[in-house]
């Protein structure tokens, strides 16, 4: 148990989240959530719209607080982990500041951490190289395509070398082709950095391709209905989408999603 506590990057213990508690429009978003994420895992959360999967991610990031239960990140309360900048986060929108060049956007978390300028710049350059945005350092967000902007926001999330990366439907706004390419890039980044990833999506293909584990959630109140272990070899690539295990995992997720009330694929 104590050993577990030390090894889990994320631990949720019997967590409930109720919005507007005690008022007329009280909404139970999440109920009895238990979750352990081990170092190096890539865990996807999939479920019908409004099932609370984004809320679950925000609980881990201490952007909302649980009504009941405990959220631990790196063995400490989520709030402390946030204050220690233990995680990086990527939203569905890139959320780049339009007044900052791409390199300055990527540096933002380092600035907030008080890292020296020379060091910041060097790190940001390295990261932009990793997400294949070298040469766009001095560009402004509006000069980049949606996919490029999202790559910059991933670079920003990795700037502080977090042990945990929280991603809230990061490729939801991208077209299918770009999304598949971004999936490949994210997979490679995950392998190279050995970062633990908690990934919210409603694309089955994306979840299976990227994850080591998939949590299927039910409609509101959101509960973890089923866990799918994805035993696909790493590194993954184009060949992965043709493997039997890939189809099996996809089918398993789809069947469980169908059981989740309100799911329409």
């Amino acid at each position: 148990m104590i050993e577990d506590l030390q090894t889990a990057v994320v631990r949720l213990d019997d967590v409930d989240k109720v919005f507007n508690q005690g008022t007329g429009n009280e909404t139970v978003a999440l109920k009895n959530i238990d979750l352990d994420v081990r170092p190096g895992e890539f865990v996807s959360i999939i479920g019908p719209s409004g099932c609370g999967k984004s809320t679950l991610l925000r609980l881990v990031g201490d952007l909302v607080q649980p009504t009941q239960g405990e959220v631990l990140v790196n063995g400490k309360p989520a709030r402390q982990a946030r204050l220690d900048q233990d995680y990086g986060i990527v939203f569905q929108a890139p959320v780049l500041f339009e007044w900052r060049s791409i390199i300055n956007n990527v540096q933002l978390p380092l600035e907030l951490r008080g890292v020296k300028k020379a060091q910041r710049t060097a790190r940001a350059r390295e990261l932009l190289g990793m997400v294949e945005l070298s040469g766009f350092e001095q560009h402004y967000p509006w000069q980049l395509s949606g996919g490029m902007q999202q790559r910059a926001s991933i670079a920003r999330a990795l700037a502080i070398q977090p042990e945990l990366l929280l991603m809230d439907e990061p490729f939801g706004a991208l077209d299918e082709m770009t999304r598949e390419r971004m999936n490949m890039e994210l997979h490679n980044i995950w392998r190279r950095t050995e970062t633990t990833v908690l990934f919210v999506t409603h694309s089955i293909a994306e979840a299976v391709f990227l994850s080591t584990r998939i949590l299927v959630m039910s409609a509101r109140p959101g509960q973890i209905m089923h866990v799918v272990d994805v035993d696909l070899p790493v590194p993954r690539g184009e060949h992965t989408r043709e493997e039997t295990a890939y189809f099996e995992a996809e089918t398993e997720v789809r069947e469980w999603l169908r059981k989740a009330k309100g799911y329409r694929a």
Partner: protein, 269 residues
């Protein structure tokens, strides 16, 4: 990238953009000049542009003197009003309750014709005292400045706020790195409004009495003595100052927030 290709082509493009306006301006002047002559319009009703031009040259020294006097009033009021508006905006945006309480009053006050207070303010600070005009101008520009700044500081993308929180940003860091840059385009809008309003406010409040060296007084006195061409020449001075003031703000905006869609123009997606 195409967006960076500003330069020579950008300048000639701008020239091209302004060409119709320039042609219209010249055309209006010509129609005015020859229309007045053809229809034999009386001088005191509408002097021809050439007559106004002559009056302008004859009175140039005096016009510069009175123009500068009133420009100083407008500038003083602009600086006081904008500074006060920004200060109050920052103070109230910091405390949500304060801004929520003040905003409806500010919006209501913004629609009050403040120029109507000019005789009263003249009485407070002295008719001859430029301060009385500065106060009027300051009060006129204060409200749009404050309202716009509060909006800019508070209408921040919620996701951006969440991002700052996720990286444990302090309130001060959120203010300096997110709210303030977010407010800049709103503030420049207010500066542009204020630049125009300040010259109008200074000249019109002088109509209610003021120093002998003031532009508004020059206009009323010349008009009272039927020297309408001189009054027209003074109005041109007021216009030149007003437009220059606006253009300076525009220039500062371009340098300060080149990233904003209002500045980069059609290239916005």
């Amino acid at each position: 990238m195409a967006a960076q290709g500003k330069g020579l082509s950008g300048v000639s493009k701008q020239l091209h953009d302004y060409l119709p306006a320039l042609v219209l301006f010249v055309a209006v002047l010509l129609v005015w000049e020859f229309g007045v002559a053809l229809l034999e319009v009386q001088q005191f009703l509408l002097p021809a542009p050439s007559v106004i031009g002559d009056a302008f040259q004859e009175n140039l020294d005096r016009l510069i003197h009175v123009g500068w006097f009133t420009t100083k009033e407008a500038l003083g009021g602009f600086v006081i009003g904008c500074a006060a508006g920004i200060l109050v905006a920052f103070a109230t945006a910091r405390w949500t309750l304060a801004s929520e309480t003040l905003m409806p009053f500010a919006i209501a006050a913004n629609s009050v014709p403040i120029i109507a207070f000019a005789p009263i303010v003249n009485n407070w600070f002295g008719v001859d005292n430029p301060l009385s005009k500065m106060v009027i101008v300051a009060v006129i520009v204060f409200f749009p400045m404050m309202i716009n700044t509060v909006r800019g500081l508070t209408l921040v993308d919620p996701a951006a706020l969440e991002l700052m929180r996720a990286y444990a940003a302090s309130e001060v860091e959120i203010l300096t790195k997110l709210r303030f840059p977010n407010a800049l385009p709103y503030m420049f809008n207010a500066f542009k409004i204020a630049a125009t309003l300040s010259m109008i406010g200074a000249v019109v409040s002088e109509y209610f009495g003021g120093n002998r060296s003031a532009l508004g007084i020059f206009i009323t006195q010349e008009a009272a003595q039927f020297r309408f061409a001189n009054a027209w020449a003074a109005i041109i001075v007021a216009s030149i100052v007003g437009v220059t003031f606006y253009l300076v703000v525009l220039l500062v905006e371009r340098v300060t927030i080149p990233w904003h869609s209002s500045v980069r123009g059609e290239q916005a997606r």
